[in-house]
């Protein structure tokens, strides 16, 4: 098992080529989210936190379909994406607990994960913010003469904000190598999609911007990867952007303070029957990669690894006071080293 054996995000990302690692990573995401919930109850997490348990197949399906030097923007619901892209459990948990071991050194918190070495720009806490930024990353890739792509991940509720429409139009008209990924988990905060959005499928909006709009079973990591591969190939070829809609579900409420009482009875149970980890594990068994009954053992191993990472996090100090002023501008004295994308 490769989980957490490597502390290098890029190595963790490369490891995702392996089928068993793909399953392991989904379990890792689930375990980390569960641990965060517990850390919250234990008083280690401030502010709010937005879990993505139930959406693991989307994260892993995307991460295995793009390269570490492709660019990703996503949102406050980004723990799973960060882990899938390669950020270590300790770096994610550490950030959420405000420790120096965190991927933003404890300055960002749950909503602001970042790891340039695997293309992850700081996750944004403002709805829609990531889409235009992904367009710009795609422009830079093209201007600098390489075939890198940008992936913008956002929710169904975010398809009602101006930045969504402006970005799709902008990317389409300039044929930018962007893949717009909408995680349609049926809710924006406490509001079900049909109360905020006149169409059931966000993908239909692609038609207005003359780009492919694809609907994907977001609980199946292979289906996610397949759809992503096509959209990414199209972008790399220079044929322009796509909108890929992942039908998925968040098992928890919107944020830590939300018991999700607005959900119709039975809805969660129906989704739990199509759990992304179970779906993938069953396939692993069929493919003879996982022994029958091997899932529980794997889950226990991963949970133990996450527990170790948590212990490491709780040993880590918080950032020093000087960090407040150290990274505001180039002359703040923090010894900033600018990340140079695509320098090799």
């Amino acid at each position: 098992m490769t989980i957490s054996n490597s502390n290098a995000p890029v190595a963790r990302r490369e490891a995702l080529k392996d089928r068993l690692e793909q399953l392991t990573r989904m379990i890792e995401i689930r375990s980390v989210e569960e641990r965060i919930q517990k850390l919250f109850a234990e008083g280690h997490v401030r502010g709010s936190t937005h879990l993505a348990n139930g959406q693991e197949a989307v994260s892993v399906g995307i991460a295995r379909s793009i390269d570490p030097d492709d660019i990703v923007t996503c949102t406050y619901r980004g723990h799973g994406h960060a882990l899938a892209l390669g950020v270590t459990p300790a770096a994610v948990l550490g950030e959420i607990c405000g420790r120096v071991i965190g991927c933003a050194g404890g300055l960002g918190g749950s909503m602001h994960l970042v790891e340039p070495s695997v293309g992850l720009l700081p996750t944004a806490a403002i709805i829609g913010a990531g889409l235009p930024i992904a367009c710009g990353a795609a422009m830079a890739a093209r201007a600098r003469g390489n075939d890198r792509v940008a992936v913008a991940i956002f929710g169904d509720g975010s398809a009602n904000i101006g930045a969504f429409h402006e970005s799709l139009n902008f990317a389409a008209i300039r044929k930018l190598p962007v893949v717009f990924v909408c995680e349609n988990n049926l809710y924006g905060e406490y509001t079900r999609i049909q109360l905020s959005t006149p169409v059931e499928d966000i993908a239909v909006r692609a038609a207005s911007y003359n780009m492919p709009g694809v609907i994907v079973d977001g609980q199946d990591a292979d289906k996610v990867a397949e759809a992503m591969a096509e959209a990414v190939a199209r972008a790399r070829r220079g044929d322009g952007p796509s909108l890929v809609e992942m039908k998925t579900y968040r098992y928890s409420g919107h944020s830590r303070s939300d018991p999700a009482t607005y959900r119709p009875a039975g809805e969660l149970d129906a989704w739990l029957k199509r759990d992304p980890i179970d779906i993938f594990a069953n396939r692993m068994v069929e493919e003879n990669i996982l022994a029958a009954g091997g899932l529980d053992k794997l889950k226990a191993e991963v949970r133990e690894a996450v527990e170790l990472a948590t212990a490491e996090v709780l040993q880590s100090p918080g950032p020093e006071l000087g960090e407040i002023m150290a990274h505001v501008g180039a002359y703040s004295g923090g010894g900033d080293q600018r990340w140079n994308f695509w320098s090799k």
Binding site: G47, G128, M325
Partner: protein, 335 residues
């Protein structure tokens, strides 16, 4: 007297305003069916119906702009921005459209609307959900800006803001929502916009502040060696120059305590006005206690240092009063 949560003062002001004036409507995300992300609109949907208490999509530009249009045509919209940062995606409708409506129509068209939002730091929401941002609005002719500081000022300012004939931004320090306080509601209670309050009498220095920093200032005044007068500015624009100038004439010293970085804080304007208009009454240079020029840190210990504490404020005011020199802020001392 009854003990209430400060968030209940928001709810009560909105509820009473909707009852008293049928043109008042509310728009925002999850304010109706869910009762509001901060539970400050709980029950309003049942009481006033879905035509007046309106859940919106995540489309701030659309509902902010709709508020402008509805206001021009006879309604009194109250828009909730949840976290004040979210107005960033809708700023044009407020600072460029609403603010110029009266001017461009030479008074024939006006936009009597309210934007209310939770604001400020202190709870670990991180740098994109913790700012005050009052300077985005203060600098715009045509807008008024108020900041609430307790249950009474929340009720009094909100009622006045909703009744005001022009657009008003109401900033509600989020840290206060879950505070409890003795307060008896009075339906007729209002705080006139543009009027500050002296909340503590003193003789050595005038400490001007607002919002959640009022509590900090009062605690600092208790522990300080100096006898500090504390003013709650309440309205940041247009602010009460007379109350501040009269106080400084008595104390001879001016200190501002702002939840804002130095470069954009309202204290710059207060200090410049007093320095220009009341130079002769100053025994010491005016002094500003602000946030450092940095985004709000997430880490608990860092955010605690980032925000002025009562001990730090007392230390700063004491230094000013005893030396008549402006003390350096902590981050310059540390450097």
């Amino acid at each position: 007297m009854a003990k209430i949560w400060i968030r209940q003062a928001v709810l009560r002001a909105l509820d009473d305003a909707m009852t008293d004036d049928p043109t008042v409507i509310m728009m925002g995300e999850d304010i109706a069916a869910a009762g509001g992300p901060f539970k400050v609109t709980e029950g309003l949907l049942a009481a006033h119906g879905p035509d007046r208490v309106i859940d919106t999509p995540i489309s701030e530009m659309a509902f902010m702009g709709a508020a402008v249009g509805a206001a021009v045509c006879g309604m009194k919209p109250v828009v909730e921005m949840m976290f004040i940062e979210f107005i960033g995606v809708a700023l044009d409708q407020l600072t460029t459209q609403a603010a110029t409506m009266r001017y461009l129509s030479r008074g024939r068209l006006t936009a009597p609307l309210v934007v209310r939002a939770s604001a400020g730091a202190g709870q670990g929401f991180g740098c994109q959900h913790s700012q005050m941002l009052d300077h985005w609005f203060r600098g715009t002719p045509g807008l008024k800006v108020v900041v609430t500081s307790n249950a009474r000022t929340t009720y009094g300012l909100l009622r006045s803001a909703i009744e005001d004939p022009d657009p008003v931004v109401v900033l509600e320090p989020r840290v206060l929502y879950a505070e409890r306080e003795e307060y008896e509601f009075d339906r007729n209670y209002r705080i006139p916009l543009g009027q500050a309050e002296i909340v503590r009498k003193g003789t050595d220095a005038t400490l001007v502040t607002c919002g959640s920093m009022v509590r900090v200032a009062l605690a600092a005044a208790e522990s300080s060696k100096a006898n500090i007068e504390v003013i709650d500015l309440l309205t940041l624009w247009p602010w009460d120059r007379k109350t501040v100038a009269d106080s400084v004439a008595r104390t001879g010293r001016l200190v501002t305590l702002e939840e804002a970085p130095e470069g954009s804080g309202w204290g710059g304007d207060v200090v410049s006005h007093i320095a220009i208009q009341a130079f002769g009454s100053l025994k010491a240079p005016p002094h500003r206690i602000t946030l450092p020029e940095a985004p709000v840190p997430y880490s608990g210990p860092l955010e605690a240092r980032f925000l002025p504490s009562p001990a730090y404020v007392a230390e700063q005011v004491d230094a000013l009063v005893s030396t008549n020199k402006s003390p350096a802020p902590w981050w310059r001392n540390a450097a």
